[in-house]
Symmetry: C3
Subunit: 346 residues, 3 copies
């Protein structure tokens, strides 16, 4: 597929600088782009590459276009425009509908005629697979689960019984939706399992990364709002609720029954304790631990960056003296005050 620079400008509401008839059939970085590819500049630190790029054209913000003599597509948000151009020029491969002969689909499962069930997949009784859904190879959809229109389960995804995946979701390989929550009651020394009877209910336009796990609720549901984005290897425990358009980076974990607001972001390896409420528009830096509710929008952190190990060990050892240090400091302040005031301290 090839489009002209002019055509891109029309579709993405941009302005052409240079040769609008230039044909473009792919995207690439400034340094790798060939004469039929378009690149973009979002980060000023790559500005030096502008001078030497062989790209057919570059997507630029107005201020960066001034000094650029090559072909450009000028837009307010080059990165956003680039995402659209890339999706246009490199569309998902699509699929023909049907059921692969090696798939095992229960007789009473409802599979839309426009859907695809891939090789070695298993679809159990009572499942609903809606229009244009793609169930990739090796996926397992347990009883009574629903996958709504246009969602794509890439491969080897497990969706447990009665869970609901909304429209246009993407679920990457190895993700597990709806396994039992980690719920036990102690009976003397033994742990007695509390049946996990809720579901996982996932909104529309949600993306879930590889090997991420989302547990079903104990009684009520675990809920992901529309537009939520989860990276790889994330744990979402039972009864968690995540607000719309919140994004969590890899290896983050959210403990049970915590409610997270809308438009929050969690850096990689962030952790949130259970039974908390996190307001809308809260940002947690990577690695940080949230162990109390957060009522106000803002950025929160408890991350400590590595330093040379010897120096760190000396400092870390002092951490254990911190409380004592404060007391020593306070005592010293009092003594100095009395010295200043001329008292006899003995």
């Amino acid at each position: 597929m090839a489009v002209t620079l002019e055509e891109l400008a029309r579709r993405f509401l941009g302005r052409v600088q240079g040769d609008g008839a230039r044909e473009i059939d792919g995207v690439a970085t400034l340094t790798d782009a060939g004469p039929r590819e378009i690149a973009f500049l979002a980060n000023p630190r790559y500005q030096k590459h502008l001078a030497v790029t062989r790209a057919a054209a570059v997507i630029l913000a107005p201020k960066d276009a001034e000094d650029f003599s090559g072909n450009a597509l000028i837009v307010d948000n080059p990165h956003l425009c680039f995402a659209g151009v890339a999706a246009l020029l490199h569309p998902d491969p699509g699929f023909s509908p049907g059921i692969h002969p090696s798939a095992v689909v229960a007789e009473d499962a409802r599979v839309a005629a426009s859907a695809w069930i891939g090789a070695q997949a298993v679809v159990e009784a009572g499942v609903t697979i809606s229009d244009n859904v793609y169930i990739g190879p090796g996926c397992y959809i347990d009883r009574l689960a629903t996958i709504e229109e246009g969602s794509r389960l890439v491969a080897n995804v497990t969706v447990c019984q009665r869970c609901i995946v909304g429209k246009r979701c993407i679920i990457h390989p190895g993700a597990v939706i709806g396994s039992d929550g980690f719920g036990y009651v102690r009976d003397d020394v033994r742990w007695i399992k509390v049946p996990q009877l809720g579901r996982v209910v996932i909104g529309d336009d949600v993306e879930i990364g590889s090997n991420t796990t989302i547990d079903r609720g104990a009684l009520e549901d675990t809920v992901l709002g529309d537009g939520v984005k989860l990276d790889n290897l994330i744990q979402i425990a039972h009864n968690v609720q995540i607000g719309e358009h919140t994004a969590l980076a890899a290896l983050a974990g959210v403990a049970g029954s915590t409610i997270i607001g809308k438009r929050c972001t969690f850096g990689g390896r962030a952790g949130i304790a259970g039974h908390l409420e996190i307001a809308d528009d809260v940002h947690i830096t990577g690695t940080s631990l949230v162990s109390g509710s957060i009522a106000n929008a803002g950025t929160y952190s408890s991350a400590i960056s590595a330093e040379e190990a010897g120096a760190w060990r000396r400092n870390a050892a002092r951490l254990r003296q911190l409380d004592a240090m404060v007391r020593r400091l306070t005592e010293l302040e009092q003594k100095v005050q009395r010295l200043i005031e001329g008292e006899n301290l003995d």
Copy 2:
């Protein structure tokens, strides 16, 4: 399935308050329960819901029953009783024994007549699948592994060669039991793999969460005691031993050859270094790192909770001055002491 409140009281050694003939066919939360469902109150913070619940009955501790005019099942431990009632009213669906036609089972695998091998599963040579075992869709059981009576591998579980899963275990999707430990010797710059020849041996009544990984021992076995509970996305390295009834929450990791006692609990994202010994009844708070052996029961922590990022950054920067601060403090104490004692400091 429906039971009367009286019948529940008889089975769970409780006392009826109100209408013992009331029929109950499910469990629910206080706020969601309908007139044929039973709820429970374990957390005092939900007490306000008692007044308005539409539940057929509520499972209550004696002290909470006094002010409640509805039907109640009065027991010492409402949460434990609720777990039993939920399991009674919402039993696992069960399964008919057999081997799905799409499963691949080696001729010399021993599969009990009462067991089930699900769709697309693979069972290799020399495997033993005992009575009432459920091998879910897509599971892979490698050579000479043994799955003992009544265990349930939900779906897409991998059990590697020669590993043993005890009785009545539950293993959730994506878990990997018995992959090679991370064992290498350095030869100049290259890492030379040390063959991992041990097994994973899992006791009875163990539950293992989704996408959790348990590595086989290098020479001896990796061992999980009876009643151990592992949440999702946990790493158990080679040669680890975990004592009976110890529970680890999600994203926890235990490095190689560490021995953990009985009845311990590890919060989410907790980490334990290798070659340590952790006593019985040790509790590690979420996110904490254990880097030395722990000889005494108790609770241990190194977790730091997030605060507003600007304030945190100022404090975190000071961490690197901590050792210097202590030295400044000590010097100042000496100076003040000399001032107090009237010495000339110059």
Copy 3:
């Protein structure tokens, strides 16, 4: 398979002490070894077991052999020698080439005659499976991917389209190679997906642990150098580059576009922020966070070890006063200095 001690000495360039004709057919620990098994001593703390071992022979360093009266294979690096002996005596089971009848292999996939495609595996169009490659049960190899000579995908591994796995790699169950990177642009409140068009390119002799995830690059590739070793449950984000012979332990995470040097090691649960450069021969202790580039070889840490929870809480609370403490300390130093200098402070 049995070999004499003499034969082992010849193969592994060691020296025999005692009976070179002794036959050996397996490896074991000092305490478990029977009369036909060889053990080794690498860690001085197991020296006491030397006196009582029943092993046919022990692999020892010269200095440890002096006081040992049993049979010994004396080498400079006993652990390295042991790895070789174990691989010799306990070889991988090997496989007969072919395609399991239950596997689904696209007509135009190129599968070497010497390769094996296991039960329930799926190999898509345009894939290249080279000589002596083992594709285990349940693996999924998406379009145009390449698996080079001698690599072993144990089971249930997913390799996404166009990714390249080098020679003699081992990939453990549940690993996902080449899922989409976590790349979005914000459009008002919504996250717009940026198509992930790069690949994952893995060098030779790489080992990748269970349920580890490696994302494909956004435009350029995610690259793992020769000899890289990744443990279980590791996240490698898009566009990361990892230098040769670098090893990461379990639950570590590397954020997008970070470039890691050669021969580095990362302890378990270590995290590296995105867009950093880490020099060769850098070692990061377990749990530590790296949030800035590291230009010099060395060991770096930000790990804090757990202490008794009550004491820890008191110290951790003081962390939030650290900046204030430094200011108090500085003020106090000034006051004391003025006292010493005899100034009137009022």
